[in-house]
Amino acid sequence: MLTTATHLDDRGQAMTDGTAADPPPELDGPDGAALARELMRRMQRVRLFEEATIALFHAGELPAMVHLSIGQEAAVVGACLATRTSDYMTGNHRSHGHPIAKGARLDALMAELLGKATGVCGGKGGSMHLADFSVGSLGESGIVGSAIPVATGAGLAAQVRGTGQVALCFFGDGAASEGVLHESMNMAGLWDLPVVYFCENNGFAVSVTTEESLSVPDVAMRAAGYGMPGVTVDGQDVLAVYCATREAVERARRGEGPSLVEAKTYRFHEHAYGLVLPRPYRDQAVVDSWFDTVDPITLFHDRLLAERVLTAGELQALRDEVGAEVEAAVEFARRSPYPPPEAAWTDVYAPGHDPQEVSA
């Protein structure tokens, strides 16, 4: 039994009725439609990008495993779209969704996954370590929890420099047990840093459930211990995530300090795609049912139709656009050259550094 499964049942059912309703203010009018379109576009980007990586995996074209955000698109996109491109963001090993949602170009991300020279990190980072500084993405971390203070520091820089920027810090329920989260949240609370700590609580750290790793039911319950607001939202509802994060971002931008937003969500695939765990730790039938019951894209799709925000045709066109974008990204990545061998030794230091050292 999954504790995280229950909180969505109401919504899920409510959705399936699917009769017409009025949109909430956020989705109302032309601005609302534009927002809806962008939320959907970015969720589709994450989904289709990752489905393409699955295909690449099965084709044997991926040099390494990938940790997919499929099922978590609403959390990732709702949070990122609540920030500006100039705002900062850091993430973790489940890494594709964050930069995509933050607005990074798909072609350079896909090329990175294949270890190509045109990759967003020149092929040196790979799937777990995407970064696109041009859209405020300061990097994902393969070391769980390790980038949490980095986002906190970006918030500090924004504060000291008075730029009005905010830093969005993604971490998982597993990472919530790491000491650096405590150290970072304490500093952020102390100094009123413009940071939004965003927990993608998908119920698992690999095979370990939140019940087995967390001494409290909700990560958000820890916010009070740092003097900051903490809220738990339905992570399958992109608008709910967007609204909760927007509130936290606005608060941060007003100089009122950090917040903790926890999105309860679902990881639809295995911890890393294709990873086989010797011992089952969750009911595959339940997991399979999630595609029907709590798919954030389907839920939003149905809602937009029901609330007449976008038409089926518009939604299909949008999906097709993204599909083409992803296909082009895959083509770009495939056609791109590998980095030259000597790239292995550059970027260890900033230009101008002379290591005076030749390898044997």
């Binding site: 390790s146 790793s213 980095p339």
Partner: protein, 338 residues
């Protein structure tokens, strides 16, 4: 649980894999001594494959899944050891040691000394050297040289499954903290080591090197995967009439200096193959010790074959070239002989 049954097969016929060796060492020692406990992330789901059957055999009190809290985990193991347990902590990937460094240094390594011998810290920490597999900079470290600079810790880097079995069992019985770094490139090498010993008292003492190949022209010291590269290079060189002695230290602290130094005194030449980053590597230590203690016997430079001082790049086009290879070892031997 099927693993124990499998173990009953006759020794000669069976070849041991790395993960089986770990599993067997842990299982045997947990059976022998009720104070041995096993802790690690994703242990019960047996994600890394070395804990099969442990939960069923020893129960949830002695087999514990850890939350993601590396510093806390090592510190908890230290405290549990001071209070009578003998914890084995599976840190999974060696790149995760850094978060726990203070606990390694300030508690595990120092507590016995600083408390005048009152504390005993029988803790084994296992971690895989997970390089060469496209995992990029955050999973591919080979950090044992850092720990060699810290007195109070013992360090093993087994390169065959039977050695791993015997060293790990010795480590679990040792009253000192022992770090076990397992070269993940050897996980698949089932069958390349000698046949599995059937003795549950199969112990390889800490601090004893293995001479993998006797020789008279040059001493090649190879660590972890490096010991295999050294052996392959030695075969290649043999065709050219160069007779290399290959030594696998197996334990880095305490290092078996008598074996290494005696060999270099005989051969007069030394090459060290170490998958760690070059600067301040185990290879550097061995080279320094050799020139300090065997200078008169030395007839050529001590040459290090290490990983370059760069980070591990993701791209398959980049990664392999930074590590030691058989060709680099052969070239180094030629330099040492020149």
């Amino acid at each position: 649980m099927s693993a124990p049954a499998a173990r009953r097969k006759p020794a000669r016929a069976q070849q041991l894999g790395f993960l089986q060796a770990i599993n067997r060492a842990q299982h045997e020692e947990m059976t022998r001594d009720g104070s041995v406990v096993l802790m690690g992330q994703d242990l019960r789901a047996n994600v890394f494959g070395a804990a099969a059957g442990a939960l069923e055999a020893f129960g949830p009190s002695r087999v514990r899944d850890l939350p993601l809290a590396e510093a806390g985990s090592i510190g908890v193991a230290a405290g549990a050891a001071m209070a009578g347990l003998r914890p084995i902590v599976d840190l999974t990937v060696a790149s995760f040691v850094f978060g726990a460094m203070d606990q390694f240094v300030s508690q595990l390594a120092k507590a016995r000394y600083m408390f005048g011998g009152q504390a005993t810290l029988p803790v084994v920490v296992r971690a895989a050297l997970y390089y060469q597999g496209g995992t990029a900079g955050h999973h591919a470290d080979r950090p044992y040289p850092m720990f060699m600079n810290v007195p109070g810790l013992k360090i093993i880097v087994p390169s065959t499954a039977p050695d791993l079995l015997g060293l790990l069992k010795s480590a679990i019985r040792d009253d000192n903290p022992v770090l076990c770094f397992e070269d993940a490139n050897l996980w698949g090498r089932k069958g390349r080591g000698p046949a599995m010993p059937e003795d549950v008292e199969h112990l390889v003492p800490l601090g004893s090197a293995a001479v993998r190949r006797p020789g008279s022209d040059v001493t090649i010291v190879g660590i972890g995967l490096g010991s295999w590269l050294a052996q392959q290079a030695a075969e290649e060189l043999a065709a050219d009439g160069v007779d290399a002695e290959v030594i696998d230290p197996r334990t880095l602290v305490p290092m078996d200096w008598p074996t290494i130094l005696a060999s270099v005194r005989r051969t007069g030449r030394c090459v060290v193959v170490d998958p760690a980053n070059r600067t301040c590597s185990a290879a550097s230590e061995i080279a320094a010790r050799v020139v300090e203690d065997c200078f008169d016997a030395l007839r050529g430079p001590v040459v290090r074959v290490t990983t370059d001082d760069t980070h591990v790049p993701f791209s398959p086009a980049l990664e392999k070239q930074i590590y030691p290879t058989q060709a680099k070892v052969v070239a180094a031997v030629r330099r040492a002989l020149a």
